[in-house]
Amino acid sequence: MARTPGVRPLDQLIRWPEADLARVPLHIYNDPEIYAWEQARVFRGPTWSFLALECEIPKPNDYCLTKVGDTPVIVLRTAEGAVHALVNRCTHKGSVLCYDSRGENKRSFVCPYHAWTFDQSGELKGIAFEKGVGGLGGMPEGFDKTKHALTRLRVETIEGMVFGTFSNQTPPLEQYLGAPMVAHIRRTIRGRTMQIIGRYNHIMPSNWKLYIENSRDTHHPSLLHAFFATFKLNRLSAEGGIRHDARNWHHLVFAKRHTDQGHEEYSPGKLRTMKADFGLNDPSLIAQWMEFDDNITNALQSIYPGFVLQQILNSIGTRQIIPRGTDECELVWTVVAFEEDTPEQRAIRIKQSNLVGPHGYVSMEDGAIGGFVQQGIKGDRDKQAVVEMGGSTADGQPTRASETSVRGFYKAYRETMGI
């Protein structure tokens, strides 16, 4: 694979401490050169990244902006109705072509700087003053516009969610996800028509990988988030488990709150997060209807590298990670309802948006905790994280008292980075 300019080879930058997956070197969270390699090999490598919801570009000629890693991307619906994704970078001087986060009736993309014009497939169609003025200047005779198209991503959609990839090596989306992941995505959306009801742009003071690890860390919810433990919404003593694809790249973690049998660890006074004496003045917040036949009440599906499909009670939504340098990232939360919902169901989803996002009763700590790690590791870049709960492999497990899904992330990370 090509070297990233100005960056040392990866084998000089990372030495993974163990052959197994139970250790993670801490300097991968704050090294700018490793960050540059991640842009090339993870985000522009053989992976599918979530781009947008189809309902954000409902009509022909609609567009919206997103990012894949650091790279700005335009997602658009063509005049014929197809979804395309183009890098938002003029091939002339590198300016972004679109600077408004969304728009409609956009049949072509004209650079604001020197008016180079591209069509919806990214082909360069026009250059202002291409023939010069009065026979003087202009582009040289042999300048070939077909060689200066915008970079175009491959695009596929599943259940109203648009994914894109830069690499020709990436398998087709459903093959990349694997059958268990595809099945759960279809189970969650069920062909219903999404309507966005809210979006939160959550800035986190940590490396992007620390958030993704957190979203996969199945044993932290009832230990970090007192709200989960106190209301028995997601405790390790409820039925649940971890499913994965054949490569162990993507993981689904789930729980069934109504099966909670209790455990000695949750006895009063043992855990900070178990507040036995607290009841909600308005318990309607956590009243849910059983939306799914499998009785799963809490499910987080993490798709490598940076996407999460969420079901917290009846709050359904997507989470997209956007790195912002080594020490910061943005998590874009989009919560949805469905056209098929009754007004009562819609009201429950709106109310349960209190559970998620930067203000969420069960998620606000996640913004802080990655920052705590980022602060803690600063002086100890040569040390390692211990990821050994539930063994040292990345298999699916019938318990959530395990870090198998975090190990799965690092399995995928090492395979895509080539380390």
Binding site: I196, G198, Y200, N281, A368
Partner: protein, 146 residues
């Protein structure tokens, strides 16, 4: 009322916060863009005073966060309407700076309050307080109401 509200929050008297509202009041923080697009699931949505009490109890006892305080600066209140039943619609600009326990200060949010105010036994209370933040971004977390 506008001044007392921000002082109660800025001085950490969070238990006073629900007392500025009627029992059936709606409090919501949202981003300008969410608001413009009619996306109703904003941040920190309470549709009655009990939910506000729950927010304050969890802030004190349940949620975990690095200690910080706010300082609000508010502009003059503009009365937008007064209806026949005595409901006043008003808006007020605000600026909210967050100070962390180690002294770091950051502009946390600017925006406007869009309020519907009623008088209960001559005491003005919010029946609705919509906090429309100019930015849709929240840094780290939102635990103290704005």
């Amino acid at each position: 009322m506008m001044v007392e509200y921000v002082h109660a929050i800025d001085e950490g008297e969070y238990e006073r916060w629900p007392t500025f509202f009627t029992e059936d009041a709606v409090y919501q923080v949202t981003g300008r863009d969410n608001h413009a697009r009619g996306w109703v699931a904003g941040m920190m949505l309470c549709d009655n005073r009990d939910m506000m009490l729950d927010r304050i109890y969890t802030l004190r006892q349940v949620n975990l966060w690095e200690p910080h305080t706010y300082r609000h600066v508010i502009g003059p209140t503009q009365i937008l309407a007064l209806d026949a039943t005595g409901v006043v619609t008003a808006q007020t600009n605000y600026l909210c700076v967050r100070t962390m326990h180690d002294g770091e200060q950051k502009l946390f949010s600017t925006g406007r309050y869009l309020d519907r105010i009623v008088f209960e036994a001559d005491v003005p209370r919010f029946r609705e307080r919509l906090v429309i933040s100019d930015s849709n971004r929240i840094d780290t977390l939102l635990v103290i109401p704005i």
